[in-house]
């Protein structure tokens, strides 16, 4: 009796599983993974990107889906926990069998999932500005590399505002460290003396800026036009700008150009004392173009709140998603290897009115915009590069990486080809 019951139970169980898997085939959707933290410290920034992806997928489905199938978003929460990112990435790829993943914000989360994507050969679209020095076969970097943000911003300050002395202030992690290394090398190449560069690092969430701002003030009192290049991260910005204002440093005495402060960050700050300080991005919500107007309208309808802002990483997802769609259509399949080949050279409209293309090094072309903070929390574009700037995976200003080249097209197919010794270092 007992054995019969057991075998019956087993048959039912096996039957259920086949039924379930059968259903999955019958539904016949293409799954897209969304890997953004919905809780923990990074939820502030990443939740918006999850919503952006849901909106983009929704719109694509309204247009008839992809390859005759509907798209289906699979959302998971890595909870701002870096090892969890790798775990959830593996889950998305092996359990949910997603065709591509859109996600990550911090460098460390990207570094954490990178081996997983390479091992399982899947695709990741990474939408945030980052420090460069990476080019993976499986990752597409739709945010800015340092040469698409930092260097043009410094050029603008040097040429248009006549800045002679530089404060490079950042939070102590990889992105500011690398960016400042690149900038210091770049400035020195432009003839700026060592004593005219001040570099300062602070911990995450630093809140007591008195001495540092006093030091910046002293540094700026030396008679030459001074600017602060800020790679200060997230929460530390509010007390930083407050202290600047209180110690009487305004945008016309010592302007601050920031690389991590966008519309979303400003929505939590009283921007009146900040008016005139700058930020460098590849997109601002205030950009005037038809695609942007449509995007903002679609966003407001989707999120059901017309006070919500749009920002640069959202644009990066917009571009990355459309590139993936186009590449899949071109390849006729969602197979990772085929898409990798098809996506290079794909060109899609960006939100600032131009077209962005996927380069062989898996970075994209983008315009660089400099905006001034306005009292309504928006940016006013004051300068922009005449054309598109192609993202550079390996900086020309770092001794370790200036000989490296990345080209994922077939003959070379290498992310870090050393030109000097003519060899691909990895693998």
């Amino acid at each position: 009796m007992k054995t019969r019951l057991l075998s019956f139970a087993l048959t039912v169980a096996v039957g259920m599983t086949t039924l379930l898997s059968g259903q999955a085939v019958a539904a016949d959707t293409i799954k897209v993974g969304v890997l953004h933290s919905l809780s923990g410290t990074m939820a502030i920034s990443e939740t918006t990107l999850k919503d952006t992806m849901l909106m983009l997928i929704d719109e694509q489905n309204k247009k008839g889906g992809l390859l005759g199938k509907k798209l289906e978003a699979v959302v998971v929460d890595p909870a701002s926990d870096w090892p969890l990112f790798a775990e959830k990435a593996r889950e998305l790829i092996t359990k949910d069998k997603v065709a591509a993943v859109f996600g990550c914000w911090t460098s460390v989360s990207r570094k954490s999932v990178l081996p997983v994507f390479e091992e399982l050969n899947s695709l990741l679209f990474y939408p945030v500005q980052y420090e460069g020095e990476e080019s993976s076969r499986n990752v597409f970097y739709t945010g800015a590399a340092p040469n698409q943000q930092a260097i043009p911003a410094v050029d603008y300050l040097m040429k248009d505002m006549g800045v002679k002395r530089w404060v490079l202030a950042g939070t102590d992690y990889v992105y500011p460290r690398t960016t400042n290394k690149i900038l210091a090398a770049y400035l020195k190449a432009k003839g700026v003396a060592d004593k005219d560069i001040m570099i300062n690092y602070t911990p995450f969430g630093h809140s007591d800026w008195q001495s540092i701002v006093a030091e910046i003030k002293k540094f700026g009192n030396a008679g030459k036009k001074t600017a602060v290049v800020s790679t200060i991260n997230g929460d530390a910005n509010v007390p930083f700008y407050k202290e600047l204002g209180n110690q009487g440093i305004t945008a016309d005495t010592i302007p601050v150009v920031a690389f991590s402060v966008g519309e979303e960050e400003l929505s939590g700050i009283d921007t009146k004392p900040l008016v005139g300080h700058l930020a460098a991005w590849n997109y601002f919500m205030s950009v005037e173009s038809e695609t942007n107007d449509n995007f903002i309208e679609a966003w407001h309808t989707f999120i059901k709140n017309d006070k919500r802002v749009t920002n640069d990483p959202m644009e990066a997802h917009f571009i990355g998603f459309n590139m993936w769609i186009k590449a899949v259509e071109k390849a006729g399949t969602t197979d990772a290897a085929a898409v990798q080949e098809a996506i290079i050279g794909v060109t899609v409209p960006n939100l600032s009115g131009g077209y962005s293309a996927m380069m062989p090094n898996h970075h994209i072309t983008k315009p660089v915009l400099i905006g001034e903070i306005q009292d309504d929390g928006q940016f006013e574009v004051v300068w922009q590069t005449p054309g598109m700037v192609a993202g550079d995976a390996w900086s020309d200003y770092l001794p370790g990486s200036k000989d490296l080249l990345s080209d994922w097209r077939t003959p070379l197919a290498c992310g870090n080809f050393n030109v000097k010794i003519g060899k691909c270092s990895a693998k």
């Binding site: 092996t94 081996p115 460290r177 060899k423």
Partner: protein
């Protein structure tokens, strides 16, 4: 009392150990030998997840040993765990060799792009597995020993000690965030390739790591069981309940505390070392005070002063975390918070305490 006798008195432990031993054998077999189409196949993902839980289990035993049996609430065990992890991480980093993106045979990638010219002194030796393993044990032990030597000698106890351990892990968190330290700053160590020549991406290696974690957990369990059931263990419990009286009887309380605390740190270090190759990254977040407090909660939920309770708590809370962060991301913190309050208020003996009560009744 021999170990065997000790085990006979610990029914929960017998059950736990049997389950772990079974899992250690069955899971890798179901992963490697059972084809994927079979419903009994265990995916690599699940195996990695379970392997992680096993490491947490070992860590929980370490926390329970000092908290449940010695009455020291350590809010800094994450530090020992992370140090062990960093030890393993450094070995794995050195194993990458010239396969890094810059092709530098000596320096890890993060040092190359931050323009480091040579390997810092404390990275030497980590190319050898035996050296790295030695460090995995020695570094947490040394830290625990030095900290304990100062703290127990000056009779810092109770809440003070908890806060000091928290300060310790917080200071280390800040220190490891600093890029100048030479441990990769916020990004930590990642992109590992292989261990002892076996590729970390191969399922067989993962199975091997899983087995190692299971064995380590069983070994840790048995050694803690042995300690707690020995004379030393009874002195510990006495210290927990009436420290002064034990001192007056003539025991050197600080020495007992010191050795147990150090041993517990070693367990945490080993857990960290096994954890890192399975999750593929070690970074300063493991030092965060929050992580250490979570460890204490595993033990509290499972039931302190029972070793199997600690293991059960670690598995239970982490499974809930894995599940809730997918099902209801917003609810996770509420659930965790409520767990803290409810367990301390209504389940001072944890979940396993409930079972034991039933047994008695």
């Amino acid at each position: 009392m021999t170990l065997f006798q000790a085990l006979k008195t610990d029914r929960g432990g017998m059950i736990t150990l049997t389950i772990i031993a079974l899992a250690t054998v069955v899971v890798p077999v179901c992963n490697l030998l059972v084809p994927e189409s079979n419903p009994f196949h265990v995916s690599t993902f699940t195996m990695a997840l379970l392997g992680k839980y096993l490491c947490y289990g070992l860590l929980a035993i370490g926390v329970d040993l000092v908290w449940g049996y010695l009455g020291i609430l350590s809010l800094g065990h994450g530090a020992f765990f992370a140090l062990g992890g960093y030890g393993m991480g450094m070995y794995l980093m050195r194993q990458i060799g010239s396969r890094g993106v810059y092709g530098n045979p000596l320096l890890p990638d993060f040092m190359v792009f931050l323009n480091w010219q040579q390997l810092p002194w404390f990275w030497h030796g980590f190319q050898w597995f035996w050296f790295a393993m030695l460090m995995v044990i020695l570094v947490p032990a040394l830290l625990a020993f030095v900290f304990g030597w100062f703290a127990f000698r000056s009779r810092v106890t109770g809440v003070y000690l908890s806060i000091m351990t928290q300060a310790l892990t917080y200071a280390l968190l800040l220190a490891f965030y600093r890029n100048e330290m030479g441990f990769g700053g916020n990004n930590g160590l990642t992109d590992f390739k292989d261990i002892l020549g076996f590729s970390l991406q191969a399922d067989t290696t993962r199975a091997g790591l899983f087995i190692a974690s299971g064995v380590a957990l069983m070994f840790g369990y048995l050694s803690c069981l042995y300690i707690t059931r020995s004379r030393l263990g009874r002195v510990c419990t006495a210290i927990r309940d009436q420290e002064d009286r034990v001192r007056f009887i003539g025991y050197r309380v600080e020495n007992v505390k010191l050795w147990i605390f150090t041993f517990s740190a070693v367990l945490a270090g080993i857990a960290g070392a096994l954890y890192v190759p399975q999750v593929g990254i070690i970074n300063p977040n493991e030092f965060s005070p929050l992580a250490s407090i979570e460890m204490v909660v595993w033990v509290a939920v499972g039931g302190r002063a029972t070793l199997y309770g600690a293991v059960a708590g670690a598995l239970l809370v982490n499974y809930a975390k894995s599940y809730l962060t997918v099902a209801m991301p917003d609810a996770w913190l509420f659930a965790l918070g409520a767990l803290f309050v409810l367990v301390t208020l209504f389940l001072p003996r944890g979940v396993t305490g409930l079972l034991r009560k039933k047994e008695v009744a």
